[in-house]
């Protein structure tokens, strides 16, 4: 779950990481009040995407009279597909240098990895490798002062700036661990006089850990349909074809799309019904697909932890209760296959055995 900048900064503040003075505003009137309190400031649109500066989503307010108009303008913007609904009105910082600092998890080493650079700011992705300090963190010892010292050395930080940076780094790692973050990123981390301040905040909390962070406010970046699927425990991505696809397993779902494409079919979605979906969940998944009004439905099940009879029962139930008018092309093999085929036959559906013939049939039907 991605957090908005203002939420990330609230979290920073809670962990003792310095952030600029700021007020959240959801209307132009609130923004004006915020500007009144803060004075010369920067107005930042709160969206779950990067590059908002380049998109015009950040305004500098020197003249108090601009405030209302700027806020209105920003609150009407859409950036990277996200409508701007919230602004963060922040004091303007004196910027002497922009640093970069982040912690995420590295697949290869299976450990947290710390990235830092003395050349932070908008173009961090173009900074040459030699100016990026990378440290793999051993979780048994975490980020220790000696690691911070070496990061400072390589960034060329000394004196009180190094001290403040070290303090921020240690706290950021603590937050990363305690909040189950997937990513914490500060870009830029600003040197302002002898202070070091987090001028931005990009925080992503691991969705799988949310059960132990019940106090966090929810942030939704899914479409309504995707959200519905997520709540059902399904991985769903909307695409622009006309064949609704359900498969179990993400790899299998991808392979199903690949195969459909190969035969000229156009998938309407990616839907991974999950490893251990039972009757109830599978039925919900089917209902979801029906809502999208596809031309054809293709179901591709290779039962492992998913049992073929469960999927077949779910299908039969939905067919009986809701009625399914579009053609359904079914593939069903694996655990409890025979029982599943029998259930399908009872509701008049023949199940194919291979993915090829299923995909081919689905593609053909969608052409009609």
């Amino acid at each position: 779950m991605k957090l908005y900048e203002f939420m990330g900064k609230e979290m920073f503040a809670k962990f003792g990481i310095p952030v600029p003075k700021g007020i959240v505003a959801r209307t132009p009137a609130e923004a004006v009040a915020a500007v009144k309190e803060i004075g010369s400031c920067v107005m930042k649109s709160q969206v779950l995407t990067g590059k908002r500066g380049k998109a015009g989503g950040i305004s500098f307010i020197d003249d108090f009279n601009q405030a209302a108009a700027e806020a209105e303008k920003l609150l009407q913007m859409e950036i990277g597909g996200y409508k701007v609904e919230t602004l963060l009105v922040e004091e303007k910082l004196q910027i002497d240098q922009e640093l970069y600092l982040s912690i995420t998890v590295d697949r290869a080493s299976k450990s947290p990895v710390l990235l830092a650079s003395s050349q932070g700011g908008m173009d961090i992705e173009e900074v040459p490798e030699e100016f990026i300090v990378k440290k793999i963190i051993d979780v048994f010892i975490g980020v220790q002062p000696f690691i911070a010292r070496d990061v400072c050395r390589r960034m060329g930080l000394t004196g009180s700036v190094a001290k403040s940076f070290t303090d921020i780094l240690l706290k950021l790692y603590k937050m990363f661990c305690e909040m189950d973050a997937e990513l914490v990123e500060i870009n830029p981390l600003v040197i302002s006089g002898d202070k070091v301040i987090a001028a931005d905040a990009k925080v992503t909390i691991d969705d799988d850990s949310l059960f132990r962070h019940k106090d966090l406010p929810g942030v939704e970046e899914r479409t309504a349909l995707e959200k519905k699927a997520y709540d059902l425990g399904l991985a769903y991505v909307q695409l622009d074809g006309d064949i609704a696809v359900m498969a179990n397993g993400a790899g299998m779902a991808m392979a199903t799309l690949d195969t459909l494409n190969y035969y000229g079919g156009k998938p309407a979605n990616f839907l991974d019904a999950g490893g251990g979906a039972g009757v109830e969940q599978t039925a919900r998944a089917l209902e979801l697909l029906l809502e999208t009004n596809p031309k054809v439905i293709m179901i591709n099940i290779f039962g492992g932890i998913t049992r073929c009879d469960d999927v077949a029962s779910a299908f039969a139930n939905v067919k009986k209760s809701k009625g399914i008018t579009v053609p359904v092309v079914f593939r069903l093999v694996g655990t409890n296959e025979e029982a599943g085929r029998k259930i399908l036959e009872e509701v008049g559906v023949h199940a194919y055995r291979t993915m090829q013939e299923t995909a081919k049939k689905a593609a053909e039907l969608s052409e009609q």
């Binding site: 998890v105 299976k110 299998m252 779902a253 690949d258 999950g274």
Partner: protein, 289 residues
């Protein structure tokens, strides 16, 4: 021979009294897996499919001796504790079926496992099977018959598809390893390729990869330099739109890395033919075995 597990492997099932635990215990037993004990806290003394249930692994060890491998059917919030229990008890292969384990729990599990020399399969895996010898996982029994092909896959059902195709074409498998779909998993392609290279029975390896991450690219490097046995690959996700989550946290395409084209290029440069559809694998291996 086989890799990681074989007919002598003594297996313990954690979470054996649950729905999935008991169902798959039955399936594993019917495949011939040597399950020696089950664990479910508070359920000591019960039996599941003839297997005695203990409260803790230590309790099981007191009765049945050392455990070689364990499989966890434990809900995500408790999976770290369960995995720690196995690792702490000296279990050498721990199979984590559980989906949705918090990322940092997975990091902790892998660190602890590394410090104890434990091999972790998963999380979010279908498991591992040495055909005709030992199945520790949730894959459908009937498609795994002994033969010369080693299979290593990121994705579960997709590997079933391919193993079933292989079987129909007359090719059995030595060991099939599911690495797991999560961002942090215990094994990478290289770990498994190394073992297949050493295994006498394995004559050829099938890699089942997908878009996202850099595991396939790193594997390509290893194959080029170290593998003498032929390797073929299938990669899922050719038609996936870039930048969208496709269910596996691992399958996020980021910053241009991990694209289908990049992976194909790397693998082909290492002499690994890449199938763009799963059923093409069979024709790719025909001349090589």
């Amino acid at each position: 021979m086989a890799i990681f597990i074989n007919e002598t492997t003594k297996v313990l099932v954690q979470g054996i009294t649950g729905n999935q635990g008991s169902f798959h215990t039955k399936q594993m037993l019917s495949y011939g897996t040597n399950i020696v004990a089950g664990v479910s806290p508070g359920k000591a003394g019960r039996e599941v499919e003839g297997i005695t249930v203990f409260d803790t692994i230590e309790a099981a060890k007191e009765k049945v001796g050392a455990i070689d491998a364990s499989i966890l059917f434990v809900p995500a919030p408790f999976a770290k504790d369960g995995a720690f229990e196995s690792i702490s008890a000296g279990v050498k292969v721990v199979v984590l079926i559980t989906e949705g384990i918090p990322l940092q729990d997975a990091v902790s599990i892998m660190s602890y496992a590394r410090s104890k020399g434990t091999t972790v399969v998963g999380p979010n895996t279908f498991g591992i099977i040495s055909s005709g010898k030992c199945k520790i996982g949730i894959m459908p029994n009937q498609i795994y018959v002994p033969g010369p092909v080693g299979v290593v896959a990121r994705s579960g059902t997709l590997s079933y598809e391919i193993v079933a195709n292989l079987k129909e074409a007359g090719y059995g498998t030595t060991t099939v390893v599911g690495m797991g779909g999560d961002r942090v998993v215990g094994l990478n392609f290289i770990d498994v390729l190394k073992e297949f290279e050493k295994d006498e029975e394995t004559k050829l390896v099938v890699m089942v990869g997908e878009i996202g991450g850099a595991a396939e690219e790193e594997a390509a490097e290893f194959i080029k330099e170290k593998m003498t046995k032929p390797v073929v690959a299938y990669l899922a996700g050719k038609s996936a739109p870039p930048g969208k989550r496709m269910g596996h946290a691992g399958a996020i395409i980021e910053r241009g890395k991990g694209t289908f084209e990049g992976k194909v290029k790397a693998l082909e440069a290492a002499g690994v033919p890449v199938a763009a559809l799963p059923f093409e694998i069979v024709s790719l291996i025909k001349d090589k075995i």
